[in-house]
């Protein structure tokens, strides 16, 4: 038995954690941008350029999360399941959005955003939106029942489909 099979079996024995989201605020994002390092995948969630009454704002990054490839694969599976279930019940989502050429140029906010390291991601599809909860579970094998959500990002299904396709092609 390989290391990761052993690891998966161990993790299956641990009861699923309870997510504590009492101190987190959901941030809306309509584009995703992927970064790749040798050992992790970095997902940037941000806002596309929009014209507000005070002028046009450039695209900005709001949240940046980094995860290892094992977590990324699990996130990919969760995204696939969420999209399939949504399309089965409510019909086709349409073409993916929030990625590709339109997000080639973006600027970070005034202060650089440091990536949050996560090893657990929960994807919840509601009829309107997809909610991403990112957690750094620092005691995955202990009897910890409660994990604290560090970042909560909400995107539309079209943006989520774009993210799914980007992660699938990257991995």
């Amino acid at each position: 038995m390989g290391f990761f099979n052993w690891l998966s079996e161990r993790m299956c024995l641990v009861p699923p954690p309870v997510f504590d989201d009492s101190s987190v605020s959901p941030v809306y994002a309509d584009f995703v941008h992927l970064g790749l390092t040798s050992d992790s995948l970095v997902i940037n969630f941000g806002l596309l350029p929009h014209t507000f009454p005070w002028g046009r704002h450039p695209a900005i990054v709001l949240r940046r999360v980094a995860m290892d490839f094992r977590t990324a694969r699990k996130l990919l599976a969760a995204l696939k399941m969420t999209i399939q279930e949504h399309e089965r019940i409510l019909g086709s989502i349409g073409s993916p959005a929030g990625c590709a050429a339109e997000t080639q140029e973006f600027t970070s906010s005034a202060e650089p955003i440091h990536p949050t390291r996560v090893n657990l991601a929960r994807v919840t599809g509601t009829p309107d939106e997809v909610v991403f909860d990112f957690v750094c579970d620092w005691k995955p094998f202990g009897n910890v029942k409660v994990v604290h959500v560090s970042d909560r990002v909400v995107t539309s299904f079209r943006t989520t489909k774009g993210l799914f396709e980007r992660i699938a092609s990257t991995i």
Binding site: D21, S22, S25, P26, V27, Y28, D30, L47, L48, H50, T51, F52, P53, W54, G55, H57, L62, L90, G91, A97, G98, S109, A110, T124, T126, P127, D128, E129, V131, V154, S156, R158, T159
Partner: protein, 185 residues
């Protein structure tokens, strides 16, 4: 029946949701802007400051709420109802439509806050204005339970009327381009 029409049958109304307003922060803006985008709508609650020497206005975005067109339309209906009640008692309210400063006349100071996503908005009319509670109902209003209010915004009736007029015109444009947003069937 469209997408949102199918959903509306499965939702709980805002009146059925129990809100938890412990430790909620409150904003008192003096200007408001509404922007409809392809996937979502955004409301900026703004504090304006005027610099007489340069005859220039500065805006600080206090709170930015992002929501779907469905939630925006629900909020619009609730605001219209609240204003209607007020007008029945005190007479016609004139909004500030058409007086919004142009892009060149106003400068935004500081970084605008991150757009906080909300999918539930409660409007409470008071004798002096309207209290808007923005919340994120994780269960998407299908199950019972308390919903934590993320932010509370208090505006006067004039500003509420301005917001209604902005929302009406932006939502009309949005529906013209992307199709009707159904909230009730």
């Amino acid at each position: 029946m469209g997408f949102f029409g199918r959903l509306s049958r499965r939702r709980k109304s805002v009146a059925e949701v129990v809100f938890d307003d412990a430790r909620v922060s409150t904003t008192y803006p003096d200007w408001v802007a509404f922007t409809a985008m392809r996937e979502a709508c955004m409301i900026d609650f703004v504090l304006l400051a005027h610099e007489p020497a340069r005859d220039r206005q500065y805006a600080t975005v206090l709170y930015r709420a992002a929501m779907t067109g469905y939630t925006a339309k629900q909020l619009l209906t609730a605001l219209q109802t609240a204003i209607q009640r007020c007008e029945q008692q005190f007479g016609k309210i004139q909004g500030h439509a058409g007086r919004l400063p142009q892009a060149g006349e106003i400068a935004v100071t500081g970084e605008p806050p991150d757009p906080m996503y909300v999918n539930c908005a409660r409007v409470t009319p008071t004798p002096e204005g309207v209290v808007m509670d923005f919340a994120f109902n994780f269960a998407s209003a299908f199950v019972s339970g308390k919903v934590r209010i993320l932010h509370r915004v208090v505006v006067g009736f004039y500003l509420a009327e301005t917001l209604v007029q902005r929302m009406l015109s932006e939502i009309r444009d949005h529906e013209f381009r992307f199709g009707e947003i159904e909230i009730d069937v």
